[in-house]
Symmetry: C2
Subunit: 221 residues, 2 copies
């Protein structure tokens, strides 16, 4: 079999990396340093390198490591985007991943091989985006919201120890609307995903209890 | 850029095609006519052909059309499987799709370019499967069950007009356990996914009303 561009499409991985900053859901955008779409803002991504990558997920982790020097707490595949028209270099497949970053890791990001990076508003990034990345972002955001609406807890975005108020605010930032505090607390009661700690921080009125993620917790269930 | 197998992985699409026969959830398996894994049972699948396929989903539809001459009512991407070890031909990506077939289409299947086909028990197919297709089947089944457990209605598997008993039996076959009839009926009440028809069929005790899917219904929501 003779490899040719007709037989072998271009394969890239792209990552929608979400965190919450100042109670607002943000996504990491990078400004492309190279053609095509140079200077356009994009989700961090790169070509699959079979010689380096054990899998598509490993490729996504390598790209995040190389472009912004980050290991993410949670990474999951969303879906693929494919066809002849989405990349000027030819028939291509982009495999989109969604990643959740712990708040306290945001400042550790180092920019490398990109012109600039920005934690853009996830619902309104304010840039014309490269390729089909606007659609990819929308798709990843819809998946994230559906998960949280279906009661998954975005603990991977929180520091190791957190209060229930911090957790509620993170869910609200993702969903884009406020949640009823008593209903929210009721459904957390007896959740195996949360472990009560014997530690408290100063709260608005009284000390707030700290929690950690239950052992074996996973956002994707 | 010189295409080579190192740069361009092999890309295939595989389809877990489900239906319900005699109240049991079945998946379509085909016996491979060609190497590698000749004679092994597999999910119907094939190589992506960028010159023919508009997208990966189009490739999945072409494969179903070519191998078993079927157009499916519902086709959705599940996830990818990738790496150097899953196919002896080299570093490969399989994009797995899940498809639901209407019961009354089952007999229309025509076998072509496969040794044999079989509607195997989806939870226990009874064959050693090719490549990582046992894992792919498990993954597609888990996705299908999670959807139905989350109250999606598998209407794409039913004939155009159906009774609520047929719908309940289909859900039970997918989930692998019985459902409480009154709770099931309660949650269907006022569902925009169901349209009551002014038609009845003979039921066990009294005539059973027929329903059809609501306009714009989609299993993936």
């Amino acid at each position: 079999m003779v490899p040719s561009e007709t037989l072998f499409p271009l394969v890239t991985v792209d990552v929608a990396l979400f965190t919450v900053i100042d109670d607002s859901l943000r996504v990491l955008l990078v400004q492309r340093a190279l053609e095509p779409e140079r200077r356009r803002w994009a989700l961090p991504g790169g070509m699959l390198k079979p010689a380096l990558d054990g899998s598509l997920e490993a490729a996504a982790r390598r790209v995040l490591q190389r472009k912004v020097s980050v290991d993410v707490a949670h990474l999951e595949e969303v879906c693929t985007f494919s066809g002849a028209d989405r990349d000027p270099r030819g028939w291509s497949i982009a495999v989109l991943f969604c990643a959740l970053l712990q708040k306290d890791q945001v400042n550790a990001l180092v920019r490398d091989k990109v012109e600039a990076l920005e934690w853009a508003d996830a619902t309104n990034p304010g840039h014309r985006m490269a390729f089909d990345h606007a659609l990819q972002l929308q798709t990843a955001l819809a998946r994230l919201r559906a998960r949280v609406a279906a009661k998954a807890l975005p603990l991977h975005m929180l520091p190791e120890r957190f209060t229930l108020t911090q957790l509620q605010r993170t869910c609200e930032a993702i969903l884009g609307h406020p949640l009823d505090k008593s209903a929210f607390r009721r459904r957390l009661k007896d959740s195996p995903d949360l472990v009560e700690l014997d530690e408290f921080v100063r709260g608005a009125q009284r000390p707030a209890q700290l929690y950690r993620a239950g052992d074996g917790f996973s956002f994707s269930g």
